[in-house]
C-alpha cells in the first residue's frame, strides 16, 4: 500500500493545467513529427530540448515522453496512406495498412492502429507502474561493478541489435565514449583532449552533440536525398473500424501488448523490434496467413499495439536503472540530467512526484492520442503537403538559435554544425548516430564506475566476474556478442539448403 499513495499523488501532478498542456503539446508535436518523414523522435526531442529549459523537470519529461509515443502513432499515418513509414517502428504497418487503404479502408486501418496504440500503451503503463518500483528496489544494491556491466551491456546491445553494420555501430559507440572523455578528468583534474581550449575544459555538452548528429545531420542528409515526394490522398473515409474488425484484432492487440512490453524493456529492443516481432507472431498464429500483406486487420493491430507498449516500457530501464534503452531514451536521459535529475534506483523514492508524474502522464497522453488521432487525420494529410523545402530552413534555424539559448554560447552553435557534419558523414558511410549519442550519455557513468570498481578490486578485473549480478551481466554481454554471428551463420547454411524459405519475414 505504501507505493499506492505516491502513485495517486502522481495524478495530482499530471492534472496540473500546465502539465496537461505540455502533455498535449508533446503528443501533437510527436504526431506531427511522426507524420513528416525525415525527422524521427530522437531528432525532434533534440531540437525541442531548449524550449523545455524554462519548465519544471516533470513538465519537460511529460512533454518529451508525449513526443515519443505521439510519434509512434504519427508514423502509422504515412505508412497507411502513403506506404512511407514515418518512423522505423511503422515499417511493418505498411504491409497491411497500405493494402487496407487501397481497398478504401484507410479509416479502418488508422482506427485499429489508434485503438491498438491506446490498448498497448495503457496495458504497458499498468505493468510499468507495478514493475518499476520493484526493479528500482532491486537495483538499490547495485555498486560500481554492477553499473559498469550494466552500462557496457546497454551500449553494446543498442549497438549490436540488427544485422547490418554491427561493427560500425560499435565503432560509433566507441567514438561516443571517446567524446565523453573530453574535458577535465573528475578523478585527477587533468585536462583531456581540450587542446587548451577554455570552451572544451568543461567537456562537450550533450545538447549540441545530439542536436548536431540527429537534427542537422538528418536535415543535411535529406537535403541531398530530396526527391519527388509522394502525394497524399485527398480524403479518408469511414474513420472508425467496425465491431467485426475490432473483434478480429482483439487477440492481436493482447499479444502485441505483452510482446511489446517485454521487448521494450530490453536495451536495443524498443519499438521497432517489437512491431516486427508482433507482426511475425500474428502471421504465424493465423489460420489464414495468406491474408497478411493483403489487408489483414491483425497485421495493423499487432505491430501498432506492440510499438506503443514497447515505447512505454522502455522507460523502465531509464527511470529505474539510469540506463537508457535506445537513442530516444538517451535524449530523455540527457534532458533529465540537464534539469538536474539523476535517473536511477533512487528516483522512485527520492523524487516520487517526478517519477509518478511522468508515469501517470502516459495514461493521459494515451487518452489524448486516442481522442485526437482520428479527427486530426485530415489535418495530418494536409501537413504532408507542406514542402520539405520550407520546413528545412525553419528546422535549421530552430536548431541554431535553440542551441545558443542553452548556454548563451556561440561556440555551441559552431559545435552543433560540426556534429551536424559528422552526423551527415556517418550516415553516408553507414555509421548510425544512435549508438554514438547513447554511448556519449553513458560514457562518464561507465568510466567512473569502471575506475571505482578497479579501485575496489585493487586492480584485479576478475572481480567483476565474482560478484553475482555483474558476473551474470557480463556473461549475457558475451552471449550478445557471440550469438548473433553464430545465428546468422546457421541461417545462411539453412538458407542455402532451402532457398525457398528465405522469403519469410519471420522473426
Amino acid at each position: 500500500m505504501d507505493s499506492l499513495t505516491p502513485m495517486i499523488d502522481g495524478f495530482g501532478v499530471v492534472l496540473e493545467p500546465v502539465n496537461l498542456l505540455y502533455c498535449l503539446i508533446g503528443v501533437v508535436v510527436g504526431m506531427l513529427v511522426g507524420v513528416l518523414p525525415g525527422l524521427g523522435p530522437a531528432a525532434t526531442i533534440a531540437i525541442l530540448l531548449p524550449i523545455t529549459f524554462g519548465t519544471e523537470p516533470v513538465t519537460a519529461v511529460i512533454m518529451l515522453a508525449g513526443i515519443f509515443y505521439g510519434a509512434q502513432y504519427g508514423g502509422t499515418i504515412t505508412s497507411v496512406l502513403l506506404r512511407l513509414p514515418g518512423e522505423a517502428s511503422s515499417v511493418v504497418t505498411v504491409f497491411d495498412g497500405h493494402a487496407l487503404a487501397r481497398q478504401g479502408r484507410a479509416g479502418t486501418a488508422l482506427g485499429v492502429a489508434a485503438i491498438g496504440s491506446f490498448a498497448g500503451g495503457t496495458l504497458s503503463i499498468v505493468a510499468l507502474s507495478l514493475l518499476a518500483p520493484v526493479v528500482a528496489g532491486f537495483a538499490l544494491d547495485f555498486g560500481p561493478p554492477e553499473y559498469t556491466a550494466l552500462a557496457l551491456l546497454g551500449i553494446l546491445l543498442v549497438a549490436t541489435v540488427g544485422n547490418g553494420g554491427r561493427l560500425k555501430a560499435v565503432i560509433a559507440a566507441c567514438l561516443g565514449l571517446l567524446l565523453a572523455t573530453v574535458g577535465r578528468d573528475t578523478f585527477t583534474g587533468a585536462e583531456r583532449f581540450t587542446f587548451d581550449s577554455l570552451s572544451l575544459a568543461d567537456g562537450l555538452d550533450f545538447v549540441p552533440i545530439a542536436m548536431g548528429v540527429f537534427g542537422i545531420g538528418e536535415i543535411l542528409h535529406n537535403l541531398e536525398q530530396r526527391h519527388t515526394a509522394a502525394a497524399a490522398p485527398a480524403t479518408v473515409a469511414n474513420a472508425w473500424p467496425s465491431w467485426a474488425d475490432l473483434r478480429q484484432s482483439a487477440g492481436a492487440m493482447g499479444r502485441g501488448s505483452v510482446l511489446g512490453f517485454l521487448l521494450g524493456i530490453l536495451p536495443g529492443g524498443g519499438a521497432t523490434l517489437s512491431s516486427l516481432a508482433a507482426y511475425a507472431v500474428e502471421k504465424r498464429r493465423s489460420r489464414t496467413p495468406e491474408r497478411f500483406g493483403r489487408g489483414a486487420v491483425e497485421g495493423v493491430a499487432a505491430p501498432e499495439t506492440a510499438n506503443n507498449a514497447a515505447s512505454t516500457s522502455s522507460f523502465i530501464p531509464l527511470l529505474t536503472l539510469g540506463i537508457p534503452a535506445n537513442a530516444t531514451m538517451a535524449m530523455i536521459f540527457g534532458a533529465l540530467l540537464i534539469h538536474g535529475v539523476q535517473p536511477g534506483p533512487e528516483l522512485v523514492s527520492a523524487e516520487p512526484e517526478l517519477f509518478w508524474g511522468v508515469v501517470n502522464s502516459m495514461y493521459i497522453g494515451n487518452i489524448l492520442l486516442l481522442i485526437m488521432s482520428i479527427p486530426l487525420v485530415g489535418l495530418f494529410v494536409k501537413i504532408l503537403r507542406v514542402r520539405a523545402a520550407i520546413l528545412a530552413p525553419i528546422t535549421v534555424l530552430i536548431t541554431l538559435v535553440g542551441v545558443y539559448t542553452v548556454r548563451n554560447s556561440v561556440f555551441d552553435i559552431a559545435l552543433v554544425i560540426v556534429f551536424g557534419l559528422l552526423g551527415y558523414l556517418m550516415k553516408k558511410f553507414g555509421f548510425e548516430p544512435g549508438p554514438l549519442v547513447l554511448a556519449f550519455v553513458l560514457g562518464s557513468l561507465l568510466e567512473s564506475s569502471l575506475r571505482r570498481s578497479l579501485l575496489l578490486f585493487d586492480g584485479d578485473p576478475t572481480g567483476f566476474l565474482t560478484r553475482p549480478i555483474s558476473g551474470t551481466l557480463l556473461v549475457v554481454l558475451v552471449a550478445v556478442v557471440a550469438v548473433p554471428p553464430l545465428v546468422s551463420l546457421l541461417r545462411r547454411r539453412r538458407a542455402q539448403a532451402r532457398p525457398a524459405e528465405a522469403e519469410d519475414t519471420r522473426v
Binding site: 531528432a43 505498411v94 587533468a190 543535411l220 530552413p393 549508438p435
Partner: protein, 208 residues
C-alpha cells in the same frame, strides 16, 4: 532473437526504413527515394513537394560506395584510434590498480583502432554506404550558410543571417520561386523574433 531485424543497429527509433526486409515486395525502399505509391493514388496529381533542384529527379536510391572508399573509411577510423592512443598516452597510462587520466581513453582508442582494422576484410561486401552524388553540393552549400551564420551572429545579431540563410535554402536548395523565398524568409525571421525575443525573452544576440 531477431532473424531479420528492421531496426538499424542504432536502435534509434528514427533509423530509416532502409533496412526493411528486402525480400518482401510490399516494402518501400529507402524512404527518401521511395517511388510514388503504386496504385490507388495515381489520381492525386503531382506531388506538391516535387521541388527537385537541378540534380537528377529520377536518380535511384544512392548506390553503395566502392572498396576504395570503404578502405578510406577503415583507415580514417584507425587513424582516429591512433590519434586517441597517442593523446591518452601523453596523459599517463596508469595501472589497473591505479587508473590514471589516460587509462580509459587509451582503452577506447585501442578498441577503435582494432575495430577499424576489422572493417578491412569487408571492403568488398560493405553495402551500407551511399556514394556522393551531384546533389551533394547542396550539403556543402548548406554547411556554408551555417558557417556564415555562426561567424556573424555574435556581431550583427540573428535577424540578417537568419533571413539570408532561409533565402538561400528556399531559393537555391529548395528551388522555390524568388517571390515565395523572399516572403517566407522575412516571415520566418519575424516569427522567430516574436517567439525568441518577444515571448521567450532568451538572450539571443539581436539587432533590434
Amino acid at each position: 532473437m531477431s532473424a531479420r531485424p528492421v531496426e538499424r543497429p542504432g536502435g534509434g527509433e528514427d533509423a530509416a526504413a532502409a533496412t526493411a526486409p528486402a525480400e518482401d515486395a510490399s516494402v518501400p525502399g529507402p524512404r527518401p527515394a521511395a517511388p510514388a505509391p503504386a496504385g490507388a493514388l495515381e489520381g492525386a496529381g503531382p506531388a506538391p513537394g516535387a521541388t527537385d533542384g537541378p540534380a537528377d529527379p529520377d536518380e535511384p536510391a544512392a548506390a553503395p560506395m566502392g572498396p576504395v572508399a570503404n578502405a578510406a573509411v577503415a583507415l580514417v577510423v584507425m587513424a582516429l584510434g591512433g590519434a586517441g592512443i597517442a593523446g591518452s598516452w601523453s596523459l599517463g597510462v596508469g595501472t589497473p590498480a591505479e587508473p590514471s587520466a589516460g587509462t580509459w581513453p587509451l582503452l577506447i582508442s585501442a578498441a577503435i583502432t582494432v575495430l577499424g582494422a576489422a572493417l578491412l576484410p569487408q571492403l568488398r561486401s560493405t553495402r551500407d554506404t551511399e556514394v556522393f552524388s551531384a546533389a551533394s553540393w547542396r550539403v556543402v552549400a548548406a554547411l556554408a550558410t551555417m558557417v556564415a551564420f555562426v561567424a556573424v551572429v555574435g556581431v550583427i545579431g540573428f535577424e540578417i543571417p537568419s533571413a539570408l540563410l532561409a533565402l538561400v535554402w528556399l531559393r537555391f536548395l529548395g528551388g522555390e520561386s524568388w517571390r515565395l523565398s523572399a516572403i517566407a524568409s522575412v516571415a520566418i525571421v519575424a516569427a522567430f523574433y516574436v517567439v525568441f525575443v518577444g515571448l521567450l525573452a532568451v538572450p539571443i544576440p539581436h539587432l533590434f
